[in-house]
Structure formats: structure tokens, C-alpha cells
Symmetry: C2
Subunit: 198 residues, 2 copies
């Protein structure tokens, strides 16, 4: 609209998740009109982050070092491993403050139709990691989707021969959930997995 | 969370309009995990845009050159001037395809409480531009807010001595508007400004 570089900025902003053409225009105008300094800072942060952040060589979460700060920490229990699909899940569980062990990030889930098999999500490396003998329990915290469930089941089967306990995060009614709005599959799971109170 | 540079990127993304902490985290993860190339491209586009885009010396819209492509165009009627608050408004009117004249961008509206008076939004420069004698009509297209209305009225008064016709964009029921959901002020304006059909 105003110039080629303006249009290029609008296009470039469209790569952000849930940013459509109208939002991208609004963002571009905001940056140029009201916050040029912030825009330069954002460009710098993007260049720094893309240059220095990469996968942790142990758990495959994100880090700037060879090994991430969770893997390297002596304050975390390395006998219990939380297995998740992506670094976003590590972040969510860390923010819940409910886990003090270590992580293993698959980087996806099994999806044969998309050509994603056990090798693509590093199952051989996971089994090798579990064979070390240090890990006593794996919490399978893949998503509660069909693919996440299938991936969890596959891993239980694949690790059958190893002396490692496998648990799955609980499924049921979420905190604050009103029963009349909870889907029937979740409700049926919640009834099936009911817990004794007395 | 993962590293300092990750946190810095999340912080930097928060300058974007309507991006809160959760969205910024999601964007940062998306860029680093799924689209590093796009992130580098965005950084480049930000640096280019902030370096080269500035105000047009005539209309105060945005351009990379001394004068913007609308001001420089011989195909646009320079006897009719559309006066708006910001370059975003120029973009909106251009996208409606309803105007073939030239623009004048105030860069804001009168707001005495915030210390924004006639000088801050360049009223002297506007009057000087209108004194040239070339402009026959000014369409006052400031926002239909209290401040926008006040600014339009102020300009009409300030330019009283000049032989220039002043018009205001129409106010009424928007296209597709169902009367029962239109606010009463708009409805009262629409009745007051009714147009003869026969």
C-alpha cells in the first residue's frame, strides 16, 4: 500500500500464528508509527533467538547451551522422566509447578499417514535413554488426542522389556469444568477412572 | 523459560498490538520450532521498514521517498483533499476504492487534556496548504468519535476565511446494520440526516 517495504513487512508478519492480513496491517502500522524502537528490538531478538536457540542434546527441549538447564540441574530427580510431544508442553508443565523430574521431548507424535513413524520421533533414542537403568518411571504426557494416545500406547509396548514403570497423566473433568458442558467422551473417562474417597 | 534469549524474544513480541504473554510464548515457540527462516525474514523486514519508511513531506502519510505515490500521481484530482487522522485511515479509504483525490494526514486529533492542540496536529501547515488556492473541497474524514468531531469542527472554523468547500463524511447506519442492534445516537443521526428518495 504505502511502499514495497511496508507490504513486505505486512507479509512477513503473516507468518505469526493466528495473524491474518488485517492484523498484520495493524501491527505494521503500529510498529512504524508508534514504536520504531520496539520494532528494531524485535528484529534483534528474532536474530539472536534464531541464531542461538537449538535443541538440548539430551532431552530435545530448547536451550542455548549444549544441554538445557533442566537436564543439567542436580536439584531435579533424574529417576523420573516426563515424556511430552513438544517444548511447549515442557513449558506448560513447568508453569504448573507440578513436576520436579526431568523431561524427554519427542518432537511430535506417531502419524503413519504423514510418514511419521517411530524413527522420526526418536523412539530408538528414547529406548536407549531408558536402558541406562537410571530411570525408574516414565510419565507419558503426550496430548490427550487420538495420535497422542496412540503414541503413548506404542511406547508402552516398545519399552515392555525394560524395568521401567510407565504411567499416563490422568484424564477427566478439567478444573472448573461444569459437567453439562463437558464432552461425553471425557465424562465417560472421568466416570471410568473414578477415585475412591472413603 | 528455556533461555534468556527465548525470554527476550517473548518480551519483544509483546510490543505487538493485542499480543499478551500467552500469545507471545506461542509465537516465539512457533518461530523457533517451525519457521526459523520466516523469523529471520521478519527481522530483516522490520529493519528495512524502520530504516526506510517515513512521513511524506506533503501529506504526512507514509512513504519510502520524499513524496508518497499518491501525492506524486498525476491521475489523482488535487482539487479535492481527504483529511484523516492517521495513515491507517488512508489505507482504509484506499481499500474502499471510493476516493480519487489526494490526502492530508493530521497525525492525531485535538485533545487539550493530553496537551495536543492545533500546532501539534499541524493545523497551521494545513491552512497554508489550503491557501495555495488549488484545493476546492476538503472532505473531513476524521473519526466519528467526540475528538474526531471536535477536530473537524475546529478546522471548519479555522478555514472559514478560505474559499474552500468543507464536507464531512456521512454518518448513519452501516452497511448490513440491523436497526435493533444500532446504538441510539447513530440511529438519531441517521433519521436526522435522512435522504430524499422521491
Amino acid at each position: 500500500m504505502f511502499s514495497d517495504r511496508f507490504d513486505q513487512l505486512v507479509q512477513a508478519l503473516r507468518i505469526l500464528p493466528s495473524v491474518g492480513p488485517k492484523s498484520a496491517q495493524r501491527m505494521a502500522l503500529h510498529l512504524i508509527m508508534k514504536n520504531k524502537e520496539g520494532a528494531v528490538g524485535l528484529a534483534h531478538a528474532l536474530n539472536e533467538a534464531t541464531s542461538y536457540i537449538h535443541e538440548c542434546s539430551i532431552c530435545h527441549s530448547l536451550t542455548e547451551d549444549e544441554v538445557c538447564n533442566i537436564c543439567v540441574s542436580h536439584e531435579r530427580d533424574d529417576q523420573i522422566l516426563c515424556l511430552v510431544e513438544s517444548p511447549a508442553d515442557v513449558m506448560a508443565i513447568e508453569q504448573s509447578g507440578s513436576f520436579r523430574g526431568k523431561y524427554h521431548v519427542l518432537g511430535g507424535h506417531l502419524s503413519p499417514l504423514d510418514g511419521i513413524g517411530p524413527d522420526e520421533i526418536g523412539i530408538p533414542y528414547l529406548l536407549q535413554r531408558l536402558s541406562g537403568g537410571n530411570v525408574k518411571e516414565v510419565i507419558l504426557a503426550t496430548n490427550a488426542t487420538v495420535e497422542g494416545q496412540a503414541t503413548a500406547h506404542y511406547i508402552v509396548e516398545a519399552a515392555k522389556h525394560l524395568p521401567v514403570q510407565m504411567t499416563r497423566i490422568a484424564q477427566g473433568v478439567p478444573q472448573g469444568g461444569e459437567l453439562e458442558y463437558v464432552d461425553s467422551h471425557t465424562l465417560s473417562q472421568a466416570v471410568h477412572n473414578r477415585m475412591r474417597m472413603k
